[in-house]
Structure formats: structure tokens, C-alpha cells
């Protein structure tokens, strides 16, 4: 293949240098280690691999990881939409500060979030003591894991829905209203379908982030095997027992799931951009 057939001609220089450096760096820093992980898990026979990734303890960890991540992303879907709506449509004192604060989970180190949430929801914590009076155990239970994952995924839905909501034209709503739709009908039939692609993108991003989360969860979960042990922690445990092949097997299962989620997110973003772009 000649150069001109896959590169559109242009007068700008530096294509070879910039692409060469970028792909070299990407391969060295990201692809090589991930390939090593997949390669290492291949040292196991199929039966051994299956024994590790389908053990009771591993399956319990998948259930917790994916279940809690799903619930957390769903909670963020609902509240993220409300937060985005309020930030775009209404005015109130301190709105700018609140808007900036939404990104806190991106900026606050996960270990700090983890110990802070544990301090809040532990049986003697600010909220935990009231919950335990009602017999609800927040920290050191699947509920605690979910709470940490809600924190971690909070900005995603808000930040994907917000720009779409800002760009929606008021005229469409006015047209709906003048044609006799009430506010709820306008929302359900006009606004919600327009927001749906970005809502789903935000949901998928929050879910993907939650599935891999480690730092904030280890403090609040209590880490009991079969009960509150997430998959990344199980990988950590295998590593500490020098069971590298087992860790690599579990890691490659998670890596595969991450790949699939990433592809799904790309498709959703593509859909969202098409919707978004077609209107403008």
C-alpha cells in the first residue's frame, strides 16, 4: 500500500513524525502491558482458566461488581438528569459553584473518597448511625459498595446530558405547547427522546467506570470473600498470593468486558452526535 492511498494529501508537514511517535508511545505504554496480560492468561489450559474465572468466589465477585455498578449507574441516570436539568434550566444562588463541584469525583483521589464515605456510613458515622438504628448496614455491605460507586460515577450523566440540554431549541417546546401538549407530554414525547442518546452514553460511562473502580470501594466494602469482594479486589488477592496466572485470567475477563463497554460507548456517542449534529 502506498502512502497516498491511505493518507489524504495535504501540505502540512509532520505526519510521519507525529503519528509514528504517537503509535510507538501508545504501543509501549498501553498496548504492550495489556498484551502481556492476555498472553499470561494463555499460559493456563482452558480447563484451568475456566476453573479460575468460573469459581464460586469469582462469580460472587462478578455479581457484586456488575450488580452494584448497574444500580449505581441507574441512580446516577435519574439524579444526573435532574441535576443537569436544574443546572441548565433554573437559576438559583450559587449555581456556578455547584456546577463546578459536579466534577469533584474526577478530581478527588479515590482513596480519599473511600475513607470519607466510610467515615460517613460506618455504624458510628454521621449517617451510618441513623441507618443502623433502623437496622440498615451501609458500610461493609453491598449497599456501601453501591454508595461509593454512585459517588465515582456522578459526573458522567450530568456532563453528557448538560450540553445537549443547553442546545435544545426552545421553539420545539413552544410548538408542542401551542399544539395543546401539557408540560409532562412535552417532556415525555419531545425532550426525553432528544436526551435519550446522551443519557444512555452517560449511563454506560458511569457503569464502565464503576466496574473497574478499586480505590474508593476497598475501604467501604469490608472485603469479605463471597459477600463484599469486588472483582478488582479478588485480582489483588490472587496477586498477593503470587497466583499470577489466576490474576491474569480474571484480569483478561475484565479487560474483555471493558473492551465491549468501550465499543458500546463509542456506538452510543456516534448515535448521540448524529442526533445532535443533524438538528443544528
Amino acid at each position: 500500500m502506498t502512502k497516498s492511498s491511505w493518507l489524504k494529501p495535504t501540505v502540512l508537514p509532520g505526519f510521519g513524525l507525529s503519528l509514528g511517535f504517537a503509535t510507538f508511545y501508545l504501543s509501549l505504554i498501553v498496548l504492550l502491558p495489556l498484551a502481556a496480560l492476555l498472553g499470561h492468561s494463555l499460559t493456563l489450559s482452558w480447563a484451568e482458566f475456566w476453573k479460575v474465572v468460573a469459581s464460586d468466589r469469582a462469580i460472587a465477585s462478578y455479581q457484586l461488581t456488575f450488580g452494584a455498578s448497574f444500580i449505581a449507574a441507574a441512580v446516577n441516570l435519574v439524579f444526573g438528569l435532574i441535576v443537569a436539568w436544574v443546572l441548565v434550566r433554573y437559576n438559583f444562588f450559587g449555581k456556578k459553584v455547584i456546577d463546578a463541584l459536579v466534577d469533584l469525583p474526577f478530581a478527588l483521589p479515590t482513596a480519599v473518597a473511600g475513607i470519607a464515605l466510610t467515615a460517613i456510613y460506618a455504624p458510628n458515622g454521621w449517617i451510618g448511625q441513623h441507618l443502623s438504628a433502623w437496622g440498615i448496614k451501609a458500610a461493609y455491605s453491598p449497599l456501601g459498595v453501591t454508595l461509593a460507586l454512585i459517588f465515582i460515577g456522578l459526573p458522567f450523566v450530568v456532563r453528557t446530558v448538560q450540553p445537549v440540554l443547553e442546545d435544545l431549541e426552545k421553539e420545539i417546546e413552544e410548538a408542542a405547547a401551542s399544539l395543546g401538549a401539557n408540560r409532562l407530554q412535552t417532556f415525555c414525547r419531545i425532550l426525553f427522546p432528544a436526551l435519550l442518546p446522551s443519557l444512555l452514553t452517560g449511563f454506560a460511562l458511569a457503569f464502565a467506570r464503576a466496574v473497574g473502580e478499586y480505590g474508593s470501594v476497598v475501604f467501604i466494602s469490608g472485603n469479605m470473600p463471597m459477600k463484599t469482594e469486588i472483582t478488582p479486589l479478588l485480582i489483588m488477592t490472587r496477586l498477593e498470593q503470587f497466583d499470577y496466572a489466576g490474576a491474569a485470567a480474571l484480569g483478561s475477563v475484565m479487560l474483555l468486558i471493558s473492551f465491549i463497554l468501550l465499543l458500546l460507548i463509542n456506538l452510543l456517542q456516534h448515535w448521540s452526535n448524529n442526533r445532535h449534529g443533524a438538528k443544528a
Binding site: 491511505w6 489524504k8 503509535t23 463541584l101 483521589p109 479515590t110 482513596a111 480519599v112 449517617i127
Partner: protein, 294 residues
């Protein structure tokens, strides 16, 4: 709320406004739900960090952040970020130049691969590095023979940090540079500038806010990374402990006030990051409104 305002030019205008917003009680309810949700999940953890940090007094707070182990952790965290962030800035500039200024096959794949580190669990990042550089990794024997330590040492921590913060700068630059197109660079070249002059005098100034934005996000993530670093560091006190790992050790030793004291420094970093981010967004919007990229 039912009466039409006196200054309204036309009664229909008020009806229309009413039809495109919600009744007052709905607006109040939604605002309260949103604020309560954010107060519970964002503000409360922040308050807890600072109140627990000072729970045993300012003296213990000062002692906790100035003891040798804490100072060493702070130093190591700064070193890791100081190496990782510039590496990723150079990568981000190269990748965004190639992706935004040229049309080539496989471009979309490259963009997807750049996003990959965001989707990969930090523990898996650490594990992957371990499988290459660890004692039983692919390069383990060679490294041992040549007496090079990467795992359980500073180079491993730096590598893990680079991996984790890999996409941040590139992700900020690519969409902006795509939007800006090629005309300005082409004009500069036509006027006789060489490639590097074009890059440093035309392209770089027009993306400076996005670049800075990527840098502060990458920096916040680099200093706060926990999962990946905790696999590769070995957590040797005063040798391979970064701030987040130091916090974990203190916490597991039930030195809660000290753990929160060190945490408060990172929480402060997060708040400064958010402040700078808002400032940069404001600057970028102002430049855009002024109609000139620099």
C-alpha cells in the same frame, strides 16, 4: 403565580412562557432534589475530610503532614506527576496533530485506543505492568541480571501513573484541533513558516487553554492514583509510598486523624483543580467570544 405580569407586552407571551417551563412547585422540588443529592454525595464527603483531619487539633494535623513518612510520600507523589504529566503532554500534542490535521485510515481506531486506559480497571493496569517487569514477568530475569528494579520501586510507580493519565491531554486537544481545521496552519506555511514555526506560533497558542485544562486534569489524576500504584509500589514506607498509599496505611493502622490530615491535602488539590478548571473554561469562552484564538 396565575396573574399575568403587568409589563408583559402580550398576554400570549406569558402563556407561552408558562407552557415552556414547569409550575413553581415542580421547579422548587427538582432544585431541592438536585441540591440534596449533591450535598449528600459531594459536599458531605468534603466536610468529613476536613472535620476529621482537625478532629484531634491543629497540632496533630501539622505533625501528621510533616512527619518524615508523609513528607516522603508527598515528594514521591510530586515526582511521579512531574514525570508522567509532561510525557503525556508530548504524546497528546503528537497524537492530536496526527489525528486532527490529517485524514488517514485507522484514525478512528487510534482514537478508540487512546480512550482505552479510561475503561481499564487500575488494578489491571498494575497487574499488566507486574506481568512484564515483575520477578516472574516477561522481562523479570533480564532485569534481575542487570540489577534494574522497576517493580516495587519508583520507575514502576511512574509507569503506572503514565498509563492511568495517558488519555487526558489528548482527549482535550483532539476535538478542539479537529474543530479548528487546517486553514491557519496552511496560511502560515504559505507565508513561509516552517513546520515547527507553524506548530509553535500558530497551533500551540490556539489550543493553550485546552492544553492547560488537560494538564490539570491529568495532574489531579496522577497525584491521586491509587489502584494501579498500589499493585506496583510494594508500599515500602519512605521508599515507594505515594500520598494515597500513605493514607491507606495510616487508615489501616487506625490513625484516622492522620489519614484524614494527609487526605485533606489531596482534597485541597482537588478543589484547586476544580477552581482552575472553571477559570480556564471562562478564559476559553472569553477568547471565543472575542473571536480570536489567542
Amino acid at each position: 403565580m396565575s396573574s399575568t405580569p403587568l409589563h408583559s407586552p402580550h398576554p400570549a407571551a406569558a402563556t407561552l412562557r408558562k407552557a415552556t417551563t414547569e409550575p413553581l412547585w415542580v421547579r422548587l422540588l427538582l432544585t431541592c432534589i438536585a441540591l440534596l443529592f449533591l450535598a449528600l454525595f459531594l459536599v458531605l464527603p468534603l466536610i468529613i475530610v476536613f472535620s476529621e483531619a482537625f478532629a484531634r487539633g491543629a497540632e496533630l494535623y501539622w505533625a501528621s503532614i510533616s512527619e518524615p513518612a508523609a513528607l516522603h510520600a508527598i515528594k514521591l507523589t510530586l515526582i511521579a506527576a512531574a514525570i508522567a504529566v509532561p510525557c503525556n503532554v508530548i504524546f497528546g500534542l503528537a497524537a492530536s496533530w496526527a489525528i486532527a490535521k490529517f485524514q488517514f485510515k485507522g484514525r478512528q481506531l487510534l482514537i478508540t485506543l487512546i480512550d482505552l486506559p479510561i475503561a481499564v480497571s487500575p488494578v489491571i493496569v498494575g497487574l499488566s505492568l507486574m506481568l512484564i517487569f515483575g520477578a516472574r514477568g516477561y522481562l523479570g530475569d533480564w532485569l534481575m541480571d542487570h540489577d534494574v528494579r522497576i517493580m516495587f520501586a519508583v520507575p514502576g510507580i511512574v509507569l503506572a501513573t503514565i498509563f492511568i493519565t495517558f488519555p487526558f491531554v489528548a482527549r482535550e486537544l483532539i476535538p478542539l484541533m479537529q474543530e479548528q481545521g487546517r486553514e491557519q496552519e496552511e496560511a502560515a506555511l504559505t507565508l513561509g513558516a516552517n513546520g515547527w514555526q507553524t506548530f509553535f506560533r500558530v497551533t500551540l497558542p490556539s489550543v493553550k487553554w485546552a492544553l492547560l485544562y488537560g494538564v490539570i486534569l491529568a495532574n489531579a489524576r496522577a497525584m491521586g492514583e491509587f489502584g494501579a500504584v498500589s499493585v506496583v509500589s510494594g508500599k515500602i514506607r519512605e521508599q515507594t509510598n505515594t500520598m494515597p498509599l500513605h493514607i491507606e496505611i495510616l487508615y489501616n493502622e487506625y490513625q484516622f486523624a492522620a489519614a484524614f490530615a494527609v487526605s485533606s491535602l489531596l482534597a485541597l488539590l482537588a478543589l484547586v483543580t476544580l477552581l482552575l478548571k472553571s477559570l480556564l473554561e471562562y478564559k476559553a469562552a472569553k477568547d471565543l467570544a472575542a473571536g480570536q484564538p489567542h
